[in-house]
Symmetry: C2
Subunit: 167 residues, 2 copies
């Protein structure tokens, strides 16, 4: 039985979304291995704390909501401390439990919206490219954002892994 | 103008392959920033050397050739030192220039073969799953391997970034 072209495009989308969810699950497992106190640990001497990377990833994923045109942001309050400022620029203004909650909240909303996209939706432009530019650069679509954020998350996962407790 | 379903599937494949190539380019740039001597540096105290991760990534990408059913391996000789053994298990048996060459050679062969795949090809099974199992688990296709190896490479890129010279 050979799938037709519509089924092919659908399988592509499902494979990409499945991969996104697998990678989020791995990060969840990793963060869950740290106590709130252990989140304060630096990934290497003088480098970012795990706490900062948790906030950073929550903020970046929150920005995916408007970037993928899936809805408004939910945690814009994270930007100053976790995107604009480097780590340790000032005292922490959010608690570890609140930060964990933001991470879960963002990913729950994002993944639900992502799962509702059709194959065709994935190949539409993302918010940061104009219709005119997109006409010439069709690869700058929503899927490219998903792939780039998936690898971004794993980039930091590789760093966090260096200090996961119990290894 | 709305693309038809065949064009959609083709766009999916092109977006994924473009992303793969972008990520390889970034790794190439990163490795090029290290002198052969600097490759000996550990990513953090007591952790893997950049040299080991270069060999590890070359070996993992080399294994993608048979795993994606694109041809035989080219550098099976890397497995013992960079996949089976941990780092610093014995003296280095390959020079930095030879290791850089293997990395380039593997990725050149792999990317050429990948670019020749049609959208339909991407959704066929990979070598590590049987026809019977694949009938029930169609997401375990070649595309899933590409995405998983792309994030694997970025996982280690995040670690290497910690010691890239000049940062």
């Amino acid at each position: 039985m050979t799938p037709n072209d519509a089924a092919l495009a659908d399988l592509f989308a499902r494979t990409a979304v499945h991969s996104w969810k697998l990678h989020l699950d791995r990060l969840d497992t990793m963060f869950a291995a740290f106590t709130d106190e252990e989140l304060q640990q630096e990934i290497a001497p003088g480098k970012n704390r795990v706490f900062y990377l948790l906030g950073h990833l929550a903020a970046v994923h929150d920005r995916m909501l408007p970037l993928l045109r899936l809805g408004p942001r939910r945690h814009e309050d994270l930007d100053q401390d976790f995107l604009i400022n480097p780590d340790k620029a000032g005292p922490d203004r959010v608690s570890a439990p609140a930060l964990r909650q933001a991470w879960t909240d963002v990913n729950t909303a994002l993944t639900a919206a992502i799962e509702a996209l059709s194959a065709r939706d994935w190949l539409l432009r993302h918010e940061a490219i104009s219709d005119d530019d997109f006409a010439n650069e069709p690869l700058r679509n929503r899927l490219s954002v998903l792939l780039s954020r998936m690898t971004h998350a794993q980039f930091h996962a590789g760093q966090i892994r260096l200090v996961v407790p119990g290894r």
